[in-house]
Amino acid sequence: MGTVIFQNYIVLQQPLHHPVSIASPLPVQDTPCPNPVRDDEHLIRLAFATDPVAGCELLFRRYYAPLRNHAVRFVYSRQIAEDLVSDVFCTFWDNKLHEQITTSYRAYLFKAVRNRAHNYVLWELKKDSNGAEEGLLLTDSSPGPDATLLLDELRMRLDQSIQNLPNQSRKVFLLSRLEGKSYREIADQTNLSVRTVEVHIRKALSTIRQALNNEWMLLFIFYWLH
């Protein structure tokens, strides 16, 4: 037993550069795999084939949490994110989509949630300018590959504009949107007047709108062209 002291790590580093002899080496991360995604939806498909209710339950258990997590980044409200994701599952069930979709369930669900979240944000941005452009709403399976990246970039932009708000405005905004507090409650908690809370929220919303409007215009143009 005793103590083994190694004077320096130059000696010790040496063996690392030799091929390590291990029965089955760990998979190297960067190797391309022939099959795009390991089909872990197999069980859910199997359940749908035998009992659609059980299949749908499995589907919900598997994807609800990550989908809600994704939706809240767009809509910035727990309640709306939950409603939105639940509605996507209801649509899935009502229309027996498990018999129709050709992609994975995952891809369908993520697309549907993102598109509805996008529609929601679009609607919120436009609601007071009265010019809601109906034609630009996305259906559950609409965006092509190019819009996919745009949606993620919009999500980042939204996050950034909220991070960039002045401290007090952000606090008031999040209290209102994520905790669903009334202006009165927020006013009591922050020692501000109700009027000031109102002003903060209006300012926050208009800052976010301004930051997003330009970005969203790009997406509109994109859809006009297609």
């Binding site: 919900f60 939950e82 679009l122 905790e179 507090k181």
Partner: protein, 340 residues
């Protein structure tokens, strides 16, 4: 067309860290519809690693499951068929009553989930380290399998407070108004600072705080003696065990304690079983020793390794052991204990 985009690149994109070249590659790669599947699989994995909300799915699951079993689905008022952004189903467009019901509901939810609403959670996976810039400019480097909780907002007059499970190095900036920065670990330990570099390790049965620069005040609770505190000077390392017993030592090279940032492991007369524990904490890999006596062997030296396997194969070579994979784990076999 791009053949393959590694998951790390997609993650970087989701984080908003992708270069424009990477973005272009992803865009080209997505032209192949099969790759969309990979994209969404990565997105799912990324969302699972970056939870925004408390795990609890509330009653949404029960509501959906009962919806599935309802014979007349179309007449269910509880679940509208479709979110119609213009259909005025959002609270600010409805009447006062609906709004107040929703507000009551949201307040209830807000109360239930206030932890996830008030705090941002940063967590690292096994074998992952991550650097986080806090709002005040302070930098935190999280070691593997660790979690940091940061308030989403704080009052200007308050201390800057964060909660840590696991291990991290803090580079704390000094604010103009001298607000204290407090790292809380388990109930019995907190570290207050003004501006400095130090690292905190709170794993298993003991917590270690080591100071690189500046001055920190470590508060802890000693069983039977209540709140105590100790002021660290650069180079000081303090270890507090579960009972609140404190050991203060000097480390001439405190860099040792954040060597993990460079993918290095520094052992100073550590037992093999301590190292196995460390591997378990950082990589989630369990290593079985065929000969329990092996656990008593002592190791000193600096090791550079990117993963558990690399580190283990060096240790195996040192002691002429055989390293064998065992599912996701490893077994270290000593030649004496196994019949050849």
């Amino acid at each position: 067309m791009t053949e393959h985009i590694p998951e790390q690149t997609l993650f970087a994109f989701f984080d908003g860290r992708a270069t424009s070249l990477q973005r272009k590659l992803i865009e080209d790669w997505l032209q192949n519809p099969a790759n969309e599947e990979i994209y969404y699989a990565a997105l799912e994995a990324w969302e699972r690693q970056h939870p925004q909300l408390n795990e609890d799915t509330g009653d949404a699951r029960e509501r959906f499951f009962s919806y599935l079993r309802e014979p007349s689905r179309n007449a269910n008022p509880a679940f509208p068929q479709q979110v119609q952004p213009n259909a005025s189903r959002f609270w600010w467009q409805r009447g006062l009553m609906a709004a107040s019901v929703t507000i009551a509901l949201l307040t209830g939810l807000g109360f239930l989930f206030r932890d996830s609403i008030r705090y941002q959670h940063f967590a690292t996976d096994f074998g992952e380290t991550r650097s986080i810039q806090l709002e005040d400019g302070s930098r935190v480097t999280l070691n593997a399998n660790s979690e940091l909780k940061v308030p989403r907002w704080s009052d200007e007059n308050d201390n800057r407070e964060v909660w840590l499970t696991g291990e991290a190095e803090f580079v704390v900036t000094h604010t103009k108004d001298h607000r204290r920065f407090v790292v809380r670990t388990r109930d019995n330990l907190s570290v207050d600072v003004l501006g400095t570099v130090f690292s905190v390790n709170d794993r298993g049965s003991k917590a270690t705080v080591s100071l690189l620069k500046g001055k920190v005040n470590v508060r802890y609770t000693e069983a039977g003696f209540g709140q105590k505190q100790i002021i660290l000077k650069p180079g000081n390392v303090v270890t507090v065990n579960e009972k609140g017993n404190v050991a203060l030592t000097d480390q001439t090279d405190p860099e040792v304690f954040s060597s993990w940032k460079k993918g290095q492991f520094v052992f100073n007369n550590s037992s093999l079983s301590e190292i196995m524990q460390l591997i378990h904490d950082n990589y989630g890999v369990t290593v079985r020793l065929t000969d329990p006596a092996l656990g008593q062997k002592r190791v000193s030296g600096t090791f550079t390794a990117q993963n558990a396997q690399e580190l283990l194969s060096v240790l195996a070579q040192m002691y002429s052991l055989k390293l064998e994979p065992d599912n996701d784990n490893f077994i270290l076999i000593s030649p004496q204990s196994t019949p050849i």
